[in-house]
């Protein structure tokens, strides 16, 4: 899938990252599978319908219920709008975390952008020359059904492992990274 919202975007147009060199080209952007959005979207769907479901059991409009608690009418309306704002916030956060959690592969290096919630952002990068031992793993029922798994690799320069989870077709991603590493190292030997 090479669409901008796809899990594996090849040669994305008008895309850059902080610290990109002039002679550096982004070859791939790898995101988590769109299937990871399914559980939050189901939860969101349920949350959106709560203000319409409550009257079925309580026997009255949600604003009427709040009025019966002697809450001011304007305040009751604000609470209902606020509920939908909360749903929108949850949707936006889910999309932000999914969209910006990426593995950027350039012709020089691999950048792992890790976003968790509002207050956490971690960026790691490794030169393609230093990448070693690329591994792909598919585990679990959902992983096997949808072919979603983890791609991990180690770097020679530092004793650390890069890990990217919930990737669509992890074997293909592993192959892409391995080929690029071999190509870069091959050129290195020729030079």
């Amino acid at each position: 899938m090479t669409h901008i919202l796809g899990s594996l975007v090849k040669a994305p147009k008008h895309t850059s990252y902080e610290g990109k060199d002039a002679d550096e080209n982004i070859l791939y952007i790898i995101r988590r599978s769109v299937w990871v959005l399914l559980p939050p979207l189901i939860l969101l769907g349920a949350a959106v319908f709560i203000p319409t479901i409550i009257p079925l059991f309580a026997g009255g409009d949600i604003t009427q219920i709040l009025h019966s608690w002697e809450v001011a009418p304007g305040f009751a309306t604000s609470v209902v709008i606020f509920w939908y704002l909360g749903c929108f916030f949850y949707l936006l956060q889910t999309l932000i975390i999914w969209y910006f959690n990426v593995l950027v592969i350039t012709n020089k290096k691999i950048i792992d952008l890790d976003v968790r919630g509002i207050l956490y952002k971690n960026t790691s990068e490794a030169s393609l020359r230093n990448v070693e031992d690329v591994t792909s793993t598919v585990t679990g029922t959902m992983g096997t059904v949808f072919n979603i798994g983890t791609v991990s690799f180690q770097t020679a320069a530092e004793e650390r492992e890069f890990e990217f989870e919930f990737v669509d077709d992890p074997s293909k991603v592993r192959d892409i990274i391995s080929d690029l590493v071999m190509e870069v190292k091959g050129h290195g030997h020729n030079n």
């Binding site: 901008i4 990252y17 969209y99 509002i118």
Partner: protein, 82 residues
């Protein structure tokens, strides 16, 4: 004079200590926290847009900004209606 102040004070205490008043104040505090979090989201999107620049970045910026404005308006309306 003293009686008037005392009765007004008692009325305030009664209204604040009542369940509906307590719930309204609690919800208002949550709403104000939500506005602060919405502001943090706009900053988060701004930083992420700098980290990874893509054609869809403008969508996230606008969505976060609209959320901040609407949540601010809702909190204001809730505040004046309490």
């Amino acid at each position: 004079m003293g009686t008037t102040i005392n009765s007004a004070y008692n009325m305030n205490i009664l209204s604040i200590s009542s369940l509906s008043g307590f719930i309204q104040i609690l919800i208002l505090i949550v709403m104000i926290l939500f506005v602060i979090i919405s502001f943090l989201v706009t900053r988060q999107v701004h930083i992420l847009n700098k980290t990874l620049s893509t054609p869809l970045n403008i969508f996230f910026s606008q969505a976060a900004f609209i959320q901040l404005i609407i949540s601010g308006v809702v909190v204001f309306l809730a505040f004046i209606s309490v």
